[in-house]
Symmetry: C2
Subunit: 348 residues, 2 copies
């Protein structure tokens, strides 16, 4: 079957179906109120005439495509899949669609941002990757707002919605310290990402305020991934020459899961008896009975809501003065401490 | 910032940038070959003029939107997230975009199919849910192909791409039988889904061919989900009055993970020593050290490739005769047996 040219109008369909033109519109509007028999007649007439209304054509006249682009990072990390799911559900519920792009953590996303802009999307959500200033200012020039999700940047004037990594990591440091940990190992994520950097900083600063000496705090790279963390822990613990930590903080849950499996499977260590472990994010697999990570849960629902609110405000704003400095704001939402079972509970 | 009307043409941009019009096009084409300084000049000029090419407008003239709609099921099941990731990567690599919709397993997807059709997408991939015949024949009438992924239907003339559930489940039944299992429990998924039905059938038929009596094969519903399976196993094993099975087949991995956690956590049973367990799908979390499920891995990469090939063939086909019966074909691809650690290995 070849795409047929579509010159039939809704009026022709209305006539054939014996209904009014607005009824034809309603028959094609998801969840519109219309009697089933009328809808059936319209669809039968439309089928006979090969008619289909065109959201794209109507978006050209309305300057709204009703499409939001979401650029997600490495989908191996369930955090992105869980966030995407909520973006899809939220946008679907408000009659908008999601054009989704994937860019690995830390990779440049100019290519996909360009593609998104070409569809004149209503807004762009970036959960990952680096943006060139050229494309950012172009999108601002033509009035397509961009909001960062789960990361911020010092390079561009962009809104960002994030879970407060500093305060979350402080809670985890305090919890492990209270449980008796004295030698710490931090497993870092994307070295260029603001999220990993802030989590490391919050954790270190809190420990130092508790008088833990810097040489009792070690840092290694876990590649933001399960296998990266599994491998780096396997290597680190295989070295008998260095004193082992009694607490590990992986800056995200997917790495904490890799740490847990390496510790238990390769070294037969018990968590938390032999070594404590904490993650960050609150992803679903990290809360399965096999892991039950002590972690900070990001308020993904609220974060998605805030992100969409910011996109709407920006695209609705009446400010046409191009010389206005658009100010960047980081919108920080508080995470929730999840006690889990990988740090012993202390009764204070 | 308000969306600005965009009447500037690429010729105006070319003039300001001091380049040819095709150079302007190339500057906006992802991965096109163009010198960096030329691209910078074009973007600077575009920014000054608030110019952006419009993929939507060009899709109207070309009858190709370069958008494929993917309707995914419950994203709590990593199988869908993993499949979506591959669809995105494949389509991105061939210059197309993914408009993604989410519909829970077993729910009607007429609403979202209607939305997809309104964007005149090049094709629709349905991984979940039920379709009305009206919408299916409308989409066929206007030449927008639909392909089912990981399910088939007897109701409509639609192509379907699936992993062979029957042969896969037969292998699992044989493996458990060879390992000594004699009482079996099958945890079913979506009762209306072809996939769950075929997996149950393949498993049962093989057992019966091995002379296992029907009353040694029990079936319960696991709701296709981790928590559904966790709960149903918790309830079933709490009942001391009924003889416990020595082997459990959950028709997908996410349910097998729920079974594993309930068996170990609630009943302190060892897998496979006290009870064997097998799943189906080969999802990544099921292969983590904490689970290492014995399962059948679906060839997702191949399945995605086949699905896109079918969409392309159907939309390219020159057949304009509407009275032609479009024949449904199920394209079955073989899964791979993953030995795992939840069924004891037998040396034959």
């Amino acid at each position: 079957m070849k795409r047929k040219p579509n010159r039939v109008t809704s009026h022709v369909v209305a006539k054939l179906a014996g209904v009014s033109q607005p009824t034809v519109s309603r028959a094609f509007t998801p969840s519109a109120s219309i009697a089933k028999d009328k809808r059936d007649r319209v669809l039968a007439a439309a089928k006979q005439l090969n008619y289909l209304p065109n959201s794209i054509a109507s978006s050209l006249s309305k300057a709204h495509s009703n499409i939001v682009a979401v650029i997600v990072g490495d989908m191996n990390n369930p955090f992105y899949a869980e966030s995407l799911e909520i973006f899809i559900n939220r946008l679907q519920a408000t009659g908008r669609q999601v054009l989704v792009f994937s860019v690995a953590d830390g990779r440049d996303c100019d290519d996909v941002l360009m593609r998104a802009l070409r569809y004149h999307v209503d807004g762009v959500v970036v959960t990952s990757a680096h943006l060139s200033s050229d494309l950012v200012s172009l999108s601002q020039g033509v009035g397509i707002p961009i909001t960062l999700f789960n990361r911020s940047t010092a390079d561009h004037a962009l809104n960002a919605v994030l879970c407060n990594s500093i305060t979350g990591s402080e809670i985890l440091a305090q919890t492990m310290y209270d449980a008796g940990a004295r030698r710490y190992l931090i497993v870092r994520g994307d070295p260029q990402g603001s999220t990993s950097r802030n989590r490391v900083k919050g954790f270190r600063d809190k420990l130092e305020s508790l008088a833990v000496l810097p040489d009792a705090i070690e840092e290694i790279d876990g590649d933001s991934s399960y296998s990266g963390a599994f491998d780096t822990i396997s290597e680190r613990f295989a070295d008998d020459g260095i004193q082992r930590p009694d607490a590990i903080f992986a800056v995200n849950d997917i790495m904490a899961m890799g740490c847990a499996d390496a510790l238990r499977d390769v070294f037969k260590l018990r968590i938390p008896e032999d070594v404590m472990l904490a993650g960050f994010d609150g992803i679903r697999p990290g809360q399965l009975a096999a892991y039950q990570l002590t972690t900070i849960r990001q308020p993904i629902e609220e974060m998605v809501e805030k992100t969409l609110e910011l996109l709407d405000q920006t695209s609705m704003s009446d400010d046409d003065d191009e010389t206005d400095q658009i100010t960047q704001t980081d919108h920080l939402l508080a995470g929730t401490f999840v006690p889990g079972k990988t740090v012993p509970s202390t009764n204070i």
